[in-house]
């Protein structure tokens, strides 16, 4: 797989305190740049970091917010489950045979590159307005990279592992459980990372586009009412959430890959 997933191809993070400090400096620099932009553009157009944080605190304190967050969380979690489990199942099935993976790969790449948002009307028509449509949006985005990565993980199992399992006279189930699963795990987790990110994106865009509740909906309303502070506050919340989740998954991913 030459194209998809290359955006995950970063060098492994550094260890050591100085490395972490450097990153903190970088984050501080970004916050400072934000502050400068705020001074240039003015508070009516872009709030300062502190302003955004304050607004976020206000929003979080609002009793209605819990309902929105719960709505988004529910949709996201369900979509994620579908993306990860469905994607894994399909990917493994496709990956077991050389021919099926060869047939499927270009189709998956085409689907990946397609602006899936343009399929939203179809989904709305099929699922109606409501949480199932949002879940469908999220799952649609997330399932494709999970399928691709799982498929490739199975396809690329080193043949010598399977030969060793035969040489040690393992039963088929034992080979599957004790050799194929650990051998494919690092690649599958990488797929999960990408699936997580895209499922979140899909769910949010779904809410922006067609929903009466949820954080995406709050964003759209804030845009229509011309409230940059609210937009920025919500964006901040989502960025922090997504980045933290991503770092946890990245740590797992790196740990698995370091052993390979």
């Amino acid at each position: 797989m030459s194209a998809v997933g290359e955006e995950l191809a970063v060098s492994t993070p550094q260890t050591g305190v100085s490395g972490v400090l450097d990153t903190l400096y970088a984050i501080a620099a970004l916050l400072f740049a934000w502050q400068v932009l705020h001074w240039i553009a003015g508070g009516l157009v872009l709030p300062s970091p502190l302003g955004a944080a304050n607004r976020l605190a206000l929003i979080a304190a609002d009793p209605e917010f819990a309902g929105h967050a719960w709505e988004t969380g529910r949709a996201f979690a369900t979509a994620l489950l579908i993306s990860l489990i469905g994607g894994l199942g399909l990917g493994v099935l496709l990956g077991v045979h050389r021919l099926s993976s060869e047939v499927a790969e270009p189709m998956l790449v085409a689907l990946y590159s397609m602006p899936k948002i343009t399929l939203y009307p179809v989904i709305l028509l099929l699922f109606g307005l409501g949480i199932s449509a949002k879940i469908a949006f999220g799952a649609l985005h997330g399932i494709i990279p999970v399928i691709m990565f799982s498929m490739n993980a199975v396809r690329n199992i080193r043949p010598v592992y399977l030969r060793s399992a035969r040489a040690m006279r393992l039963a088929a189930l034992q080979t599957g459980l004790h050799v194929m699963v650990p051998a494919t795990l690092p690649e599958i987790v990488s797929g999960f990372r990408l699936g997580f990110a895209l499922t979140l994106l899909g769910t949010l865009i779904g809410e922006m586009f067609a929903s009466q509740r949820g954080i995406g909906y709050m964003l759209l309303k804030a845009m229509e009412s011309n409230e940059p502070t609210t937009i920025t506050a919500l964006a901040l919340l989502l960025i922090v959430f997504a980045t933290c989740a991503s770092w946890i998954l990245l740590a797992i991913d790196n740990r698995l890959h370091r052993r390979t």
Binding site: V160, R163, S164, R166, A167, M168, R169, L170, L185, R259
Partner: protein, 264 residues
């Protein structure tokens, strides 16, 4: 004395794929391995050495002929009592050295106490005891091959098959590993079949060396070295060693040129 393992009239032809014609890779070939002997197979590239290996181990089925191990036919699955070490590093990167060695025994359901005992012994024997908690990725190529050998050893194989296990290592390490394999051979009393492309290795380690022709592989000759059982790599100093190696090369030289000419 009946042979420990016997191949008779073995041929292997790979079916045609797409436009390529079928490939007659091996045979017809006969081989008898005596109990407890150290037998090496040398031959030019593409002569079917690895195919021979797979057929004997039960990893692959011959198109004709019979394979017997301990007087029982070998068909499609690896018989109990045969241990295999492959050319590539087959150590599982997700397990520690200890867990790698214990892997086969645990899957076979042996009680943990017995597993621990055997793994202890094998790791010590292969000089890996202090690396028991390390992961293969932290070890050199030679060490990883030792892990693979240890993993095979714990099952107490009666016939040990090694397919160019030291191919990826440098010469000095190879010589030392050769000494270790000889120790192993003496200690376990197993019959050993070693596939190698290194003539000096075959000459130094074996009781007999089978020289294969270019594809389709057949044995041109079987050279008996006559070394004493208590030998090691210092045997390179013996004048007979040069003679054995020379004999092997004189047999192989023409075959090797044929093999190179035939390569696409």
């Amino acid at each position: 004395m009946t042979a420990h393992a016997r191949l008779q009239g073995i041929t292997r032809t790979y079916p045609s794929v797409g436009a390529h014609p079928p490939v007659h890779a091996l045979g017809p070939l006969d081989l008898e391995l005596q109990q407890g002997e150290f037998f090496s197979v040398v031959g030019p590239s593409g002569c079917g050495k690895s195919t021979l290996f797979d057929v004997l181990a039960g990893l692959s089925t011959a198109n004709s002929g019979t394979v017997e191990f301990e007087d029982k036919p070998v068909t499609g699955s690896v018989p109990d009592g045969i241990g295999v070490v492959f050319q590539e590093d087959a150590s599982f990167p997700w397990l520690t050295v200890w867990d790698n060695a214990a892997f086969g025994l645990r899957r076979a359901g042996l009680p943990e106490r017995e597993v621990a005992e055997r793994v202890e012994h094998a790791l010590s024997f292969m000089g890996l005891r202090s690396f028991a908690r390390a992961y293969p990725a932290q070890l050199s190529g030679g060490m990883r091959q030792r892990v693979c050998i240890a993993r095979t050893l714990v099952a107490r194989p009666r016939l040990l098959l090694l397919d160019e296990p030291f191919g990826a290592l440098d010469q000095q390490t190879r010589l030392l590993m050769g000494d270790e394999v000889l120790n192993l051979w003496r200690e376990t009393g197993a019959t050993v079949l070693l596939i190698t492309h290194a003539l000096d290795e075959a000459a130094m380690l074996s009781d007999r060396v089978g020289v294969m022709s270019a594809r389709p592989g057949r044995f041109i000759d079987l050279v008996t070295t006559g070394w004493p059982k208590e030998r090691d790599s210092t045997i390179v100093a013996e004048p007979d060693f040069g003679q054995v190696t020379a004999r092997l090369w004189s047999l192989l030289r023409a075959e090797s040129m044929k093999a190179i000419a035939g390569l696409p």
